[in-house]
Symmetry: C2
Subunit: 413 residues, 2 copies
Amino acid sequence: MLQKICENAKIAARDMAKLGSDKKNECLNAIAGALLEHSDALIQVNETDVQAAREKGVKESLIDRLKLTKARIDGMAEGLVQLVALEDPVGEVVSAKVRPNGLEIGQKRVPLGVVGIIYESRPNVTADAFGLCFKSGNAAILKGGSDAINSNKAIVEVIREVLKNHHVNPDAVQLIEDTSRETAKAFMRMNDYVDVLIPRGGAGLIKTVVENSTIPVIETGTGNCHIYVDQTADIDMAVEIIDNAKTQRTGVCNACESLVIHKDILSEALPVIAARLFEKHVEIRGDESACACVPGITPASESDWGTEYLDLIISVKTVGSIEEAINHINTYNTKHSEAIITKDYANARKFLDEVDAAAVYVNASTRFTDGFEFGFGAEIGISTQKLHARGPMGLKALTTTKYIIYGNGQVRP
Amino acid sequence: MLQKICENAKIAARDMAKLGSDKKNECLNAIAGALLEHSDALIQVNETDVQAAREKGVKESLIDRLKLTKARIDGMAEGLVQLVALEDPVGEVVSAKVRPNGLEIGQKRVPLGVVGIIYESRPNVTADAFGLCFKSGNAAILKGGSDAINSNKAIVEVIREVLKNHHVNPDAVQLIEDTSRETAKAFMRMNDYVDVLIPRGGAGLIKTVVENSTIPVIETGTGNCHIYVDQTADIDMAVEIIDNAKTQRTGVCNACESLVIHKDILSEALPVIAARLFEKHVEIRGDESACACVPGITPASESDWGTEYLDLIISVKTVGSIEEAINHINTYNTKHSEAIITKDYANARKFLDEVDAAAVYVNASTRFTDGFEFGFGAEIGISTQKLHARGPMGLKALTTTKYIIYGNGQVRP
């Protein structure tokens, strides 16, 4: 069954690569319409998944993710319509030159081929991931969480039906319905068919995929993001940025999880920052200096420095120099988003140069690391690895290039 | 020991990222000089490796690869000097824009960090791989074959000595001296320290790395390259290109391993092509039509279609249409280099569009897929995967990017 899905995807990928932008946009609009039209039916099917999850004793926070509402289906449809407006990356000529022997060498953007997406129990990912793969000319194989299986089946069926009606190979999207661990592991070794695997979910899922996949993986997601308050920081600005980065939304990868503060500004800055955070019900865990500086800060342990809380908790580390700050960040970060608050030119440059992360900020909130905020539109995730794509991944990250060479009989001397 | 090497490499990577082009070039020139200066000593050490390999009964063709001669050391030094002339990719601003909220977002090219290279028993790879990693600002961890261990140690020692004398962290290059299989496997799971692994060698080595590594791998190398002779081909041109692609050098990944010929031109083209190939002592294995067309062609079996001979052997497949040709190629190729010989505009475009490979040629030899021939200079390998880099990989393939964002207090609404 898995074998057949992979074979079908490979065939579909060839068809997809030839599909023009107009046709792809026509399908995306039609699928958005069909999802809206089937809203009630989708919500009904989803209700069976939710019921089953409740009976299994799944946590309410996870049930919330699993739930399809009218608003969420509107969001899925809206996401597909937004893709229509984005430029089709396929076919762009990235570079071109003529060599001294007359060979014309062009480098052209082409789809990756077959993209595998492994995700947890958010059924909206099903439509989002399909849409991004489809617009970028790829065939998608989706492997969602077992709790959402009926919802995912229903969504994929709606999409495939529309594709069929528009004379497009419906295997452009396929769902692996067997949600067993064995099938997941077998899927991760389908190198002959699948060009890239993208896990979307928590740290545990990503780790499992990285450790078991022989297919190239793009790691997305986890963000242990820091804000460093330099001794020259504008304290009011620091308060606003830290408040925003910590509390505007807590469950996201670009939220701030740790403050690093220069000792020379600690006694002036930390009480103001802590006051604002306490007001927002944030728990603060600090090193000795931080605890001594502000009552109500509890002692941090070594494990706090490396923790992505995804919650109203933040750690505070005091440092004696920007070098120490950079070193602390490079030791504990997940290479996602890091910020410095400073008025000092040299320290701003040093921080930008030496901090190892996908996005490094001066005087702005880490919350901006996002496809829409960066102006790329919808994203398939935020890459925290260094190969292929780093930072928010839009449609281009789902493409590769190929060299096309025009000759007139050249041979190598 | 391996742990310590990885930790040292991570520290060295931070130093390397800050090293200016002038300093890197100064070191490369000095290392080239030192290798030449130590030629006799290196050849002497290599002699012990060669002796030991002979005693172990290693094949002469492999011993030839293992051997260091004056000419090979000159080649290593020359390779390093050539890198001096290439532009330093680090620091290039790939894109920059101002967002409506005033955030300035730039994307800057930075080194990957720590690059692991796993290779077989060619000691010249030691200097080549180091040079490419060094010029692109990375720390390199080298894991060469056991047969070349003494040669590799001696080369790395020469390089590290020069780095020390130039006040550069010598851990910019480290050799894993323990050549056991266990250490190799442990190395492939050092995700916390190593940013990318590049295997350089035969299909077996590459497969082992792909299957065992949890670190992102760039696959290089194997090339089951085809030339398709379309029914409109200029037969004289086909003969010259096929001869060149098959016989100019046989042991290389961009050599042609298989011909695909349209049935309408078979009886006219194959006798002339075969005559030239027989003249060059090439064994031809064909399908039924090919065998019936030219005496001396022996029957091909199914396994021939997928074989990279790296030898004076070629297979011949007859097809009824360009669709069949493309389908055959996409089924059996290794996504390296493929060529069509044609006078037909539509067929040329169709082939370029639909064949899935890193480099697709019209009317030219597949032998051109090479960093120097493409005008990039020295290469670390030819990527046959789709992520990160595809085709010849020069210095840029050893870099990633990071977003640097200049703000003045922006927070996310």
